[in-house]
Symmetry: C2
Subunit: 442 residues, 2 copies
């Protein structure tokens, strides 16, 4: 394909890491963007022939696809550090759930999501998946701020602030899906919370609808060994097998956590084409267990990465997750060569896109894909010297090196300044939430 002769934006970094093909680092290449699309990646010498309305020189920087955060609860950023270092059940029952019951509203979700988006863009994420109450507020906030997201509308058997029963959640969720069906940024998919909060009849209903609408399903699964044991006691079946029996396990299914994995589970995931979303820092902080990432990848299961919420992490920084995933995999496999840097980066990009069914649009830097990309400044002392850009990105960056970010061709951050978010005004609103929530807890 001949390169375009006129484009909107031409960027000249020192390195491009396209992620596809796997493990490749392009030296002295440039990228051309027009509208919301990547029009070309080409050697810098050839790029000189292209006319561009805007030329951006980024010496010392690497360009890579925007990161894809495949699991989280963005608005819970308002509960960051609210009750740390607690055992799981007291944390939920005595702190998080009461705080949510007292405060969660559309306004809470809108402001919490904006805070989360500010943090995610500043650490390189351009697409996030979200499961929370008032998903309409999350979707509207993401759309307004130019952020790409997968909204997984929550489904429970019981009432919450957002709905009264499974049918109500599903009907509200499908209405939301209709509202955003023309959105270029927001997709709306099923989010049955977990097998222990949604009964078999309702899970079967989700399976039917998801198949009919060809829409992904995002579900918490096998988060802890205790949860799996309880299910086996109560049903005689592991939750993964239950999902499979109900027709809910397939290439549309995103299984989040999966710390309890036998070889037969891995075989079933491989066979059905279901995706796994690994949340290493949340799994460590809540002492949930360790996902067998190496074994999953070896069997060809697609594994993506997620931060989970800032209440159990406590950041929404995928650079930290890539590093934690790689280090944890090495420790767990007792093999320092397990989960090399290129694999960790793929998990945080193309694998996330694939899990969401968006791999033809995002997750790598390829001509024709959406212009979702980030620039990472590798010139600081923390990332010098530089023998292998992939090593530096995964093992030496902490996210604060992300200097620029584009989503669908729009520059949402330049030189670490957010273009769509007024940080001062946001901080003042977050301050008010903090006071309200802390006062109530006293």
């Amino acid at each position: 394909m001949a390169p375009p002769t006129t484009v909107d934006t031409l960027i000249h970094p020192d390195w491009i890491v396209p992620v596809v093909p796997h493990g490749v680092v392009l030296d002295r290449h440039s990228i051309a963007l027009t509208g919301d699309t990547i029009t070309a990646l080409l050697p810098r010498d050839e790029a000189a022939a292209i006319e561009a309305r805007e030329v951006i020189e980024l010496p010392g920087h690497a360009l890579l696809p925007g990161l894809v955060n495949c699991h989280g609860h963005a608005a819970m950023a308002l509960l960051r550090g609210y009750a740390d270092d607690q055992p799981l059940m007291p944390w939920l029952e005595q702190h998080i759930w009461p705080a949510e019951a007292a405060h969660v509203s559309e306004a809470f979700v809108a402001d919490g999501t904006e805070l989360a988006i500010a943090e995610m863009i500043r650490s390189g994420t351009t697409t996030f998946s979200d499961m929370y109450f008032f998903p309409n507020a999350c979707a509207a906030t993401a759309q307004r701020l130019g952020m790409r997201c997968q909204i997984t509308f929550p489904i429970f058997d019981f009432p919450t602030a957002w709905g009264k029963d499974a049918d109500d959640y599903i009907s509200k969720g499908l209405a939301l899906r209709d509202d955003f069906k023309h959105s270029a940024l927001v997709t709306v998919v099923f989010g049955p919370h977990a097998p222990y909060t949604v009964c078999e009849a309702n899970l079967a209903k989700v399976a039917t609808l998801a198949a009919e609408l060809d829409t992904p399903v995002h579900i918490h699964l096998h988060e802890t060994a205790g949860e799996v044991l309880l299910a086996v006691e109560q049903t005689g079946e592991r939750p993964l097998d239950t999902l499979n029996r109900l027709g809910l396990l397939g290439p549309r299914t995103q299984c989040v956590h999966m710390t309890d994995l036998g070889d037969q589970d891995i075989a079933l995931l491989a066979e059905t084409g279901a995706h796994v979303v690994h949340c290493p820092q949340s799994n460590m902080k809540l002492a949930s267990g360790t996902c067998r990432v190496g074994a999953l990848l070896a069997r060809g299961v697609n594994v993506a990465l997620g931060t989970d919420s800032a209440a159990s992490n406590n950041d929404l920084n995928l650079f930290g997750e890539m590093q934690s995933a790689a280090l944890l995999a090495k420790l767990h496999a007792q093999d320092a060569s397990a989960l090399p840097a290129a694999d960790a980066l793929a998990m945080a990009t193309i694998n996330g896109a694939r899990a969401m069914g968006l791999e033809d649009r995002i997750g790598s830097l390829e001509a024709g894909k959406q212009a979702d990309l980030i620039a990472v400044d590798l010139s600081g002392p923390e990332t010098q010297p530089l023998y292998h850009p992939l090593s530096q990105l995964v093992y030496a960056c902490n996210g604060s090196q992300v200097s620029h970010s584009w989503i669908a061709g729009e520059r949402v951050m330049a030189e670490r300044t957010l273009t769509r978010i007024d940080q001062g005004a946001l901080t003042r609103r977050i301050d008010r939430w903090q006071q309200r929530i802390a006062d109530k807890a006293r």
Copy 2:
């Protein structure tokens, strides 16, 4: 004690985390410095009465003791990311050792140490421990740049670029100790590399000299289960027991790594008063194993934190180590309440000071101690809202929030700009090392 009436510097942050007393956060307090010393911590209202030559307002910031990096090989920053994702022995034998053999010199150590110090100050460290060839170059660089450090001069049975046998290393090391005996910043202690590289006769010699000179001993110990098994095969004894039999285990001893720990080992450490230096990220990245931090602390063993070298980490950022230590401890103990934030921060400050025998001078913010302190900006979206400063410091900061740093009362960083290091000139020198090392590897 009445507060002083005139001081050099008065700092007004939003919070002070003195570390001693444990877990305390002071609201609306100020700190006064005169010369190299902390003269007072006092309520802000009382501080108004003090005259100061310089007043620094730090709204939105927390002040805490400078972090203490209790184990590393600073100059190896020049090999950051040089050969990642390799199994341990090929990594050492085919990559790191040949690169060291080809390049390590006084100039390598001086430049590599300066790079490491730049990175450490930018991520909140004010004291580091170092074991590497040409410790004279490391000591001189730290002294020149106003950085506090413990030099652990290396001792091996065999020749290296810096010495020919144990007697030679010891005699050079003790000469270095003499050279720096009047230094306020640099202490020089024994660094027998490991029980598998230093024979019993030489370890016994170190034990005798260390007791006579009342000087700490820093040693790699039980880094992997394989190393311990081999020792048991060869000697019938676990290395920790060997050290104890040789009189080398006591309150002056810093045992680095200790991933292989039985209950009897923990009892022996507790009984002898030896210190453990935990390097969580390096242990994970090299797949070495997991130190039983919770069990050690429960028995009263002092546990400090170290980064190890940038070649096996790949950063020298103690904020990352605090978070990794806390998360790994929770996962390992299967208890989300294990190693709470205050304990992780103590490991990175006062426990490190205690391990080095410097707890009367550094490691906490107390009147009379050295003015080694850092300011951390908690006003960004990554650290908002803020319910508990300790949670934010350990679970939400990545080191890039450190804005100011003082060592012995001297401001070595202000608004993230290093005052003693010319970053441009340093980058150019590091570039030249990178080219030389990468060329040779081709």
